[in-house]
């Protein structure tokens, strides 16, 4: 995957994540539009950040206020971690909806793909650099499917049933992490 393709993939995945977590917007309550706006802004500015790259812009002359303003804005876009903001906003937006395990599971996979694409575009690397991570990603996705399956099961009796399910999923994740070969 070339650098331009990585950037394009990151942009498309960002849009997909925001849209997927937002639908239906009516189900997200009153805070939904606000969180959606934040997520969309973060996604857009994250894409701009990838386009700008890491290197600083040419210094503007002292008599070029427009150039100085543009350089300041570009530096601001480079400094703020927009991808992290988008991740949090998208998860919050998803959490505002009623429980829909398979929907959330797909969103988790898309967000992981988005983060990997951002990394490839940012570090100007090829897809092959992710090869060592492939087994871990596969194991993680397996755990994600397990967790989604757990959530999809009929709810147990009592208010502690949900918390127990969460704890079980967490335990599975921790065990998976500990079981990794060093």
């Amino acid at each position: 995957m070339t650098i331009a393709r990585s950037g394009a993939a990151a942009a498309l995945l960002a849009v997909a994540c925001v849209v997927w977590s937002a639908v239906p917007l009516s189900g997200a309550g009153g805070a939904g539009p606000v969180v959606l706006a934040v997520a969309a802004a973060c996604a857009a500015l994250g894409t701009v950040r990838l386009t700008l790259g890491r290197s600083a812009a040419e210094p503007a002359g002292p008599l070029d206020p427009a150039g100085q303003l543009g350089r300041g804005l570009a530096d601001l876009v480079r400094t703020v971690p927009w991808a992290e903001g988008m991740v949090v906003a998208v998860l919050v937006l998803e959490a505002l909806h009623h429980s829909r395990p398979w929907h959330t599971g797909l969103l988790g996979g898309a967000m992981l793909a988005y983060l990997l694409a951002v990394h490839l575009a940012e570090s100007r690397s090829r897809l092959a650099v992710l090869r060592p991570q492939a087994p871990l990603i596969a194991a993680g996705l397996g755990l994600l499917v397990l967790a989604v399956g757990t959530a999809a099961l009929p709810a147990g009796t009592g208010s502690a049933a949900g918390l127990l399910a969460v704890l079980a999923a967490l335990a599975a994740v921790v065990v998976g992490g500990l079981a990794l070969p060093r």
């Binding site: 290197s55 971690p81 991808a83 992290e84 991740v87 949090v88 998860l91 919050v92 959490a95 429980s99 395990p101 959330t104 599971g105 969103l107 988790g108 967000m111 992981l112 983060l115 951002v118 990394h119 940012e122 570090s123 100007r124 690397s125 090829r126 650099v129 060592p132 991570q133 871990l136 990603i137 194991a139 993680g140 996705l141 755990l143 994600l144 499917v145 397990l146 967790a147 989604v148 757990t150 959530a151 949900g162 918390l163 399910a165 969460v166 079980a168 999923a169 967490l170 599975a172 994740v173 921790v174 998976g176 992490g177 500990l178 990794l180 060093r182």
Partner: protein, 433 residues
């Protein structure tokens, strides 16, 4: 004469590999994964929805698999393909990094002024890489800073190091020039230009009657048969000429890369190459904040002496040297009867006065006007008026020089130098003293 020659004589032995300390930190990728994992786990606990814990699972696994080993230093050697390049000539840096184990090393050049880098490179253990670049403006240029970034297998930690890249000399790219201006009066020194006087050259000039002592092999038998008396072929003597090139680098205005300074240096390099190729003696005067010159000389070594002198042309704005210094140059630097080629935007009044003075002293001179910029300004009436007055002043300067009998041609730097010089290269240039 090619640009490759200095590369051959350049020092090819680069510095040995040196140890560079790395500064390690958590990568932005790891921070993003941490954000995803923490946000998903917190939401899972708050909302009691296990699917969010599943969303955190891949990120947690990736973060948990981090390996602690990382090298504190790496061996780094950087060697440019040549210490001397020509403008826009492709060059590269041979970079090798050692001692980074299973990590990958990414190389990125942060260029300094006038350096145009190519794409970066990514190295695996035991590999070397070549980073291409080229220099857009002549002069003594620092290539920039090389940033080495080491990443572990899972791209969770990054070790960075920066090293300064070497300084290289960039010669101006000579403009295309095939033809030469030749004076009508040439010093009596053996060369390659046919002169008006008869001599032992190769160019046929006419037929005259044989007189005792003439060489018999030059008898023109057809003419002898027609006229009934012995006729002899005559040939032009072949002479050399002294050429002094003056490059005015006091006004570095306009678009970088095509300023009058760039054009003056490229034109001077072209002229020096063209005249040295026919074994003329070429001198060079660099007119800027300090006057630098080399007396007329011959050969490839002299060409590179001139090019080395051009490296000192910084084009910095500052107090120019008293232009009268040119008229006070020793006879060896400005020989009488030499052809003076001036590459100048004619923005320095003192230089213009000096050129007038030189002409009045009988020097044959040709000015190549390299002005290709105008003063910046708005579109208001006052700015337009100021620009118009400035243009009229420039026209007046050029008119006064032409009135003195100084040929003046304009060169934009794009076309071949042969085109503006064509009126003076088709026949010998007659200068009235």
């Amino acid at each position: 004469m090619t640009a490759g020659t200095p590369r051959e004589r350049a020092d090819q032995t680069g510095p040995a590999a040196r140890q560079v300390r790395l500064h390690w930190s958590v990568s932005a990728h790891a921070l993003r994964l941490t954000t995803l994992a923490l946000a998903a786990l917190i939401i899972a606990v708050i909302t009691k929805r296990p699917e969010f814990a599943g969303v955190a699972a891949p990120a947690v696994l990736l973060l948990a698999a981090r390996r602690p080993w990382r090298p504190a230093t790496v061996g780094l050697s950087v060697r440019p393909s040549g210490r001397i390049v020509t403008e826009d000539e492709e060059a590269d840096l041979a970079v090798s990094v050692t001692g980074y184990g299973e990590h990958t090393a990414d190389l990125l050049v942060h260029p300094r002024y006038a350096i145009v880098p190519g794409p970066g490179a990514s190295l695996r253990a035991g590999q070397a890489s070549r980073l291409p670049f080229h220099v857009a403006r002549s002069g003594r240029r620092s290539v920039g800073v090389l940033e080495v970034t080491l990443r572990d297998r899972l791209r969770l930690t990054e070790g960075r190091a920066s090293v300064d890249l070497p300084v290289i000399d960039c010669y101006p790219r000579p403009a295309p020039q095939q033809t030469r201006v030749v004076l009508s009066r040439l010093p009596s020194r053996l060369g390659e230009h046919p002169s008006r006087s008869a001599g032992e050259g190769l160019e046929f000039t006419g037929v005259r009657e044989f007189v005792p002592g003439d060489r018999q092999r030059r008898i023109n038998w057809p003419a002898t048969t027609r006229r009934g008396r012995l006729q002899l072929n005559t040939f032009a003597a072949e002479r050399t000429q002294n050429v002094v090139i003056i490059a005015d680098t006091t006004s570095d205005v306009g678009e970088p890369g095509s300023t009058p300074v760039d054009l003056a240096l490229r034109g001077s390099a072209a002229a020096a190459r063209a005249y040295l190729a026919v074994r003329d003696r070429v001198g060079f005067v660099l007119y800027q904040h300090g006057l630098q010159w080399t007396p007329p000389g011959l050969g490839l070594r002299h060409y590179y002496r001139i090019m080395d002198l051009m490296l000192g042309a910084t084009g910095t704005r500052g107090l120019a040297a008293p232009a009268s210094d040119i008229t006070r140059l020793p006879r060896a630097a400005l020989p009488p009867g030499s052809l003076i080629l001036v590459f100048s935007p004619l923005l320095d009044r003192r230089l213009v006065e000096t050129l007038r003075d030189l002409r009045e002293r009988g020097f044959a001179m040709l000015i190549i006007d390299v002005l290709n910029a105008e003063p910046p300004g708005g579109r208001d009436g006052l700015s337009r008026l100021a620009r118009r007055i400035w243009r009229m002043e420039q026209q007046a300067i050029r008119f006064s020089l032409r009135e003195l009998g100084i040929p003046l041609v304009r060169w934009d730097g794009e076309q071949s130098l042969d085109e503006p010089l064509a009126p003076y290269t088709r026949r010998v240039m007659v200068i009235h003293r």
